[in-house]
């Protein structure tokens, strides 16, 4: 109580810096790969934050989050493939994804949110497995294991000139081409920002307090007059809707949708790791977790390659730091993070305020 909210301030400061970096990413990091990373971070922040609404705020454990992500992605992908590039298929795809997600979420929710948490988790796991198998079997629609490649709306084509100079060439600002790729990135950034801010509002609303009450003591929340099953089903639907929209945004950005980009359990595990590393029940944790894990996935190998070269003359060390062993080191980093930040980075740092 004495020295205020320094930990919370620090976390908010870090999140603000991350937001600023993402906002100016195309101008700060001008290679293609960096922009891929920045867009992926934006999408995963939304995906992880929507999962945090379930696990961190309400205490619901679900393994079907990538399923909802996939519905949104495949909705847009299938329609963009069938109808050709344009905004109508994107909008219809988003709506279809949300509609299917809502139907599934209501069905799973009403059938099983009354039962024990472990049973609910199993049901979501089963549903997600079925959808994964269906996606690979119904290859005439989904492209099976190969996925679907399609064209994004014209605005996002790299050849599109947002502004052109007197010669009809694409205008440059700080040496960055104002082309369709840039528009596409800002489409991702802004839609993700809107979704994240909306979720932040949810958590600070009366509804958010009820969710926390359910996490803390379900029976008492019911006893003071809250219909717990209704609230849990609602937040499950809300979270599914946001995950589905994130899927649509990702599909438009990637111009490719397949099991590996939007449905696989590997993504589910990434989401779980991000929410645990960042810190559950804070929203800020989603930002920090998503940034750390995506960066590690993209850059740890490069970093290790550089490190291995630097110590090339030393025996054994180059072998240990061989880029092929990046997963091993990633694992060690996670174990250390969980050991030193048991409530996740944001959770642990912010909890310090309460005890001091």
């Amino acid at each position: 109580m004495t020295n205020g909210f320094t930990g919370t301030l620090a976390i908010k400061g870090i999140v603000l810096i991350i937001a600023a970096l993402l906002l100016f990413a195309p101008f700060l990091f001008q290679d293609v790969r960096s922009i891929e990373v920045a867009a992926r971070i934006c999408i995963f922040i939304v995906l992880v934050a929507s999962f945090d609404l379930l696990i961190g705020y309400t205490g619901i454990v679900s393994f079907a989050h990538t399923m909802f992500f996939g519905f949104g992605a495949y909705g847009a992908a299938i329609l963009l493939k069938q109808m050709g590039p344009g905004w109508t298929p994107v909008l219809l795809g988003a709506l279809a994804g949300v509609a299917v997600s809502l139907v599934m979420a209501v069905a799973i929710g009403l059938l099983s949110l009354r039962v024990k948490a472990i049973f609910f988790a199993m049901i979501t796991l089963a549903a997600a497995s079925v959808v994964l198998v269906l996606a690979s079997q119904l290859s005439q629609f989904t492209g099976g294991e190969d996925g679907i490649t399609y064209k994004a709306p014209d605005l996002f084509k790299p050849a599109t000139k947002l502004l052109s100079d007197a010669d009809g060439k694409v205008l440059r600002l700080f040496d960055v081409r104002l082309n369709g790729k840039l528009a596409s990135y800002y489409f991702v950034f802004l839609s993700c920002l809107v979704l994240f801010v909306l979720m932040l509002r949810f958590t600070g609303s009366p509804l958010g307090t009820v969710l926390k009450a359910i996490r803390e003591n379900e029976a008492r929340a019911e006893a003071i007059g809250y219909r717990v099953v209704a609230y849990r089903t609602f937040v499950f639907c809300l979270s599914a809707t946001i995950a589905s929209l994130a899927g649509t945004i990702y599909a438009v950005w990637l111009k490719y949708t397949g099991p590996d980009t939007s449905l696989s359990f590997a993504i589910m595990i990434d989401i779980l790791l991000m929410v645990v590393i960042g810190g559950m029940g804070t929203m800020w944790g989603a930002v920090i977790g998503a940034v750390l894990l995506v960066m590690a996935q993209y850059y740890l190998r490069d970093l290790m390659g550089a490190a291995a070269e630097a110590v090339a003359s030393v025996p054994l060390l180059p072998e240990l730091l061989n880029p092929d062993r990046w997963l091993f080191w990633l694992g060690i980093i996670f174990i250390l993070l969980v050991y030193f930040f048991p409530k996740g980075i944001a959770g642990t740092v912010m909890a310090r305020d309460r005890t001091t």
Binding site: P206, K212, N217, R220, E222, A223, I224, G225, R227
Partner: protein, 254 residues
């Protein structure tokens, strides 16, 4: 006599072969404080659970102001005006004291589904919550998580949660259990205050005889899940059958 606010008719619950509450028929009236007594395992808390909805009766009915609430979920009964404080402290441990109370006030206001308005903007609800903290003398610890409070303050918060629900029927399950002597009078004073309101019905499970004597308008005795005696305190306490089973004086010539 006024019309009863709460009636149980042949209320029964079986757990396998064991009948925990057996055909209890009882009517409770506004402005009346009924103390429910009985030895351990008599079915007092189970009876409470049947009324507030944590358990559903095997047979029989619970009627509140003419509405049959037997099959309703606890949340629906709470909205019907049945409020319950628990014997084992049953709070929202990681939320602050103020947030705990605010939740009960908010449940009554029906604002739980609002998702775009911010809690910080709802000053009215927070101010209302603060009045209950003042009444229970918890204002000083308002910003602390409930789990960090000493036991006595947790018991007071348990009572404050019930008061913040503003129910018609107040159900206290051993509200002073485990409380130190300097805390208990605060709680008893609060209950006496509620009792003074002629529109409120109070049910109280209590073991301490001095508390029973000070507060009871009426005593109901449960024994092995059955209603053994029901009447004014003096009458019930002096009846031989109650002395036998409850006060432990074994039957026989004295």
């Amino acid at each position: 006599m006024t019309t009863p606010s709460l009636v149980t008719q042949d209320l029964t619950i079986r757990f396998g072969g064991h009948v925990a509450v057996n055909a209890v028929s009882c009517a409770f009236h506004p402005g009346e404080l009924t103390v429910i007594v009985g030895p351990n395992g008599a079915g007092k808390t189970t009876f409470f659970n049947l009324v507030s909805g944590q358990l559903t009766a095997t047979s029989g009915r619970v009627v509140k102001d003419g509405t049959d609430i037997t099959g309703m979920a606890p949340s629906a009964r709470a909205r019907q005006g049945i409020g319950r404080a628990f014997q084992l402290t049953n709070l929202f441990p990681q939320l602050t004291v103020l947030e705990n109370i605010r939740l009960a006030v908010q449940a009554r206001s029906g604002d739980g589904w609002r998702m775009l308005r911010q809690v910080t903007a709802q000053r009215g609800l927070t101010a209302q919550a603060e009045t209950y903290l003042e009444a229970t003398r918890l204002t000083a610890v308002a910003r602390q998580p409930a789990a960090a409070l000493p036991h006595g303050d947790q018991r007071k918060l348990e009572v404050a949660l019930l008061m913040a629900m503003e129910p018609d029927i107040y159900m206290f399950d051993e509200p002073t259990a485990g409380m130190s002597l300097d805390h208990a009078p605060d709680v008893l004073e609060l209950i006496a205050g509620i009792k003074a309101d002629p529109t409120k019905t109070v049910l109280l499970v209590e073991h301490k005889m001095d508390v029973v004597r000070a507060l009871a308008d009426r005593i109901v005795v449960l024994h092995n899940g059955e209603l053994l005696a029901d009447g004014p305190p003096a009458e019930v306490m002096s009846s031989q059958i109650v002395r036998d089973v409850y006060l432990g004086t074994s039957g026989g010539a004295a």
